[in-house]
């Protein structure tokens, strides 16, 4: 491990703080989903992904596909924290003429590998990226993060079936399973459970983790592929809005922004203590 758990926790706090500072003035949505993904992103970018911010186009870098592009603030914040670009640039999120769109655009800044925003696209593209690496005998690996609501899309399972069939063990999917999608809880909208079993049934080596336990995330992701000849699936149980008490597990924070000064200050305070 390159960092201590405390160090990773500190990065996670900085990222959550940056998300609040980005989303509040522009009143953008999806803060809840950004917070649920934060700890996973921090471990990926600071421990797991073989990447070098100074060489964002290195052909042997690991590729991270952020398919849940609606929570783009978390991706930008972690890329900035990792040194891909200056934190000053985060002010260009969601504003007139800004360089950081509400959904990531490929190469809008160094480190953004694919354009996303429409759900169900990341895993098929991830399969293509993984296939090309197998063909080229390139050791680089492909990680795709998808949302839970995204699992309603048929294309996710088309890609899952093919990756399992071809044993793409250079491919890992991480499901940010925060249990809340656009109009309700996943168990009410389309029940995804048993989600780990679904991935296993599609011939993936699947594990379930607490997506906010930094040690557990690290110890799991460092072991991919879990099984030689199988793609790896990590069902990460997370909490929407994790880190801010009044956001946690609340549907409204799929959309709401911190437009109330009191809530904004409280959120900052809670995140700094988290």
């Amino acid at each position: 491990m390159k960092n201590t758990l405390a160090g990773l926790g500190s990065y996670a706090r900085s990222v959550r703080k940056a998300i609040i500072e980005m989303a509040t003035p522009v009143r953008s949505s999806h803060t809840g989903g950004a917070f649920s993904a934060t700890d996973l992103l921090v471990v990926l970018y600071f421990e797991i992904l073989k990447i070098d911010p100074a060489r964002p186009d290195d052909p042997c870098r690991d590729i991270f596909v952020y398919s849940k592009g609606h929570s783009s603030s978390a991706l930008y914040a972690v890329l900035s924290e990792r040194g891909f670009f200056s934190p000053d640039l985060l002010k260009e999120y969601y504003v007139d003429g800004g360089r950081l769109p509400g959904h990531p655009v490929r190469r809008c800044v160094p480190g953004v590998e694919v354009s996303s925003g429409s759900l169900g696209h990341g895993l098929p593209m991830g399969v293509g990226l993984a296939l090309a690496r197998k063909l080229d005998k390139n050791p680089s690996r492909v990680f795709v993060m998808i949302s839970d609501g995204e699992c309603d899309e048929g294309s996710v399972w088309e890609a899952a079936m093919l990756a399992g069939h071809h044993g793409l063990d250079n491919l890992t999917v991480i499901v940010d399973f925060n249990k809340i999608q656009s109009l309700g809880r996943t168990e009410e909208v389309v029940n995804l459970e048993p989600l780990k079993k679904k991935w296993s049934a599609f011939n993936w080596a699947a594990r379930e983790i607490d997506g906010h336990n930094l040690s557990s995330i690290y110890n799991t992701l460092k072991r991919v592929p879990f099984k030689k000849g199988y793609p790896s699936a990590v069902v990460a149980h997370t909490v929407k809005g994790r880190g801010v008490s009044f956001m946690e597990g609340q549907l409204e924070w799929h959309y709401r922004s911190l437009d109330d000064q009191g809530q904004y200050l409280q959120a900052l305070k809670e995140v700094e203590r988290s």
Binding site: H121, P124, M125, G128, A132, E158
Partner: protein, 309 residues
């Protein structure tokens, strides 16, 4: 055209190792030579067109030159949003091949009749649309598509279409090919109806008309200059296509004719009506119903030429 296409792709793949062929479980009797020759660069994704296009985008992001292959209606419509977001939006080098343009599968009814795909695909920024009219154009269009660094939709016939060109013309994406010059009327045809359009031109010539005959194998970007030139130099333009009247060649030509500096003139759109055919039958039968025989094409043009404006 389909046979020419696969032969051309195999020859190109011998020289270009980046070419990767994906099929949505279609192409029996066609794609096997590629599979057998380049097994590592061939993937049958199964019946999953969305996934196929997404995978192709991932391959293109990794420096490959993917070709995705299916029946035109499945290649264009089912994965449409994947073509838009993954391929066109990211402006990637992906060649989408739709087999069975127009009435190539006429007995199988409208799920397999690619008559409205051009209209839909024409709306996509960055996308080149190639619609060759004979095996010679199919070969040249395939080669042009493979060397083009961006998204291409190539739609081809599969009915053993005859060669219309006597020799290989100069083929450039975005350029029309003039087969014969003339000054009374310009017949612009696209795709597999080129044969019947060519025969219609002969019928009109026999009536002592001076007919310019143009093939338009690129639908996007359209060769606007050839249309402007026709408007300046002739009395009538007739477009011929085996597709619906909205959103295809006729519509694209009409857009050029609406430019302020282009002389106002007559346009005859010879195309299919804007509905899904209720009839089934051979390609020849369907063409006879929908006014796409050489005689019907010639007659419609002749009538319009003699009408007072």
């Amino acid at each position: 055209m389909r046979t020419t296409f696969i032969k051309t792709v195999i020859e190109a793949a011998e020289k270009d190792e980046s070419i990767f062929f994906l099929t949505g479980d279609l192409g029996f009797g066609v794609v096997e030579p590629f599979r057998d020759k380049f097994p590592g660069r061939f993937l049958n994704v199964g019946v999953a067109e969305q996934n196929m296009v997404g995978i192709a985008a991932g391959l293109a992001l990794s420096g490959k030159s993917p070709i995705v292959y299916s029946i035109a209606t499945f290649a264009a419509f089912r994965p449409f949003e994947f073509i838009r977001n993954d391929v066109c939006y990211q402006n990637l080098k992906v060649l989408i091949v739709g087999v069975g343009a127009g009435f190539s599968y006429p007995q199988y009814a409208a799920t397999h009749q690619a008559i409205d795909d051009v209209a839909v695909m024409s709306a996509l920024p960055n996308l080149v649309i190639l619609n060759p009219g004979d095996p010679i154009e199919a070969k040249l269009a395939t080669l042009a598509a493979l060397s083009y660094h961006g998204p291409v939709y190539l739609r081809i016939g599969k009915k053993g279409e005859p060669d219309i060109h006597e020799s290989e013309p100069v083929f450039k994406i975005g350029h029309a090919i003039t087969l014969q010059d003339g000054g009374d009327v310009v017949v612009i045809a696209t795709g597999n109806i080129l044969e019947n359009a060519s025969k219609a031109v002969q019928i009109l010539r026999a009536k002592d008309l001076s007919v310019r005959f143009v093939s338009m194998p690129t639908l996007r970007p359209l060769d606007k200059e050839v249309v402007r030139k026709a408007a300046r130099e002739t009395r009538l333009i007739a477009t011929v296509e085996e597709g619906c009247e909205f959103g295809g060649l006729g519509t694209a030509v009409a857009e050029v004719l609406s430019e302020r500096t282009v002389p106002k003139m007559g346009l005859v759109k010879i195309a299919l009506p804007q509905h899904y055919p209720s009839e089934i039958g051979s390609q020849t039968y369907m063409r006879s119903i929908y006014g796409l025989t050489p005689e019907a094409i010639a007659e419609k043009i002749y009538q319009n030429l003699t009408l007072p404006l």
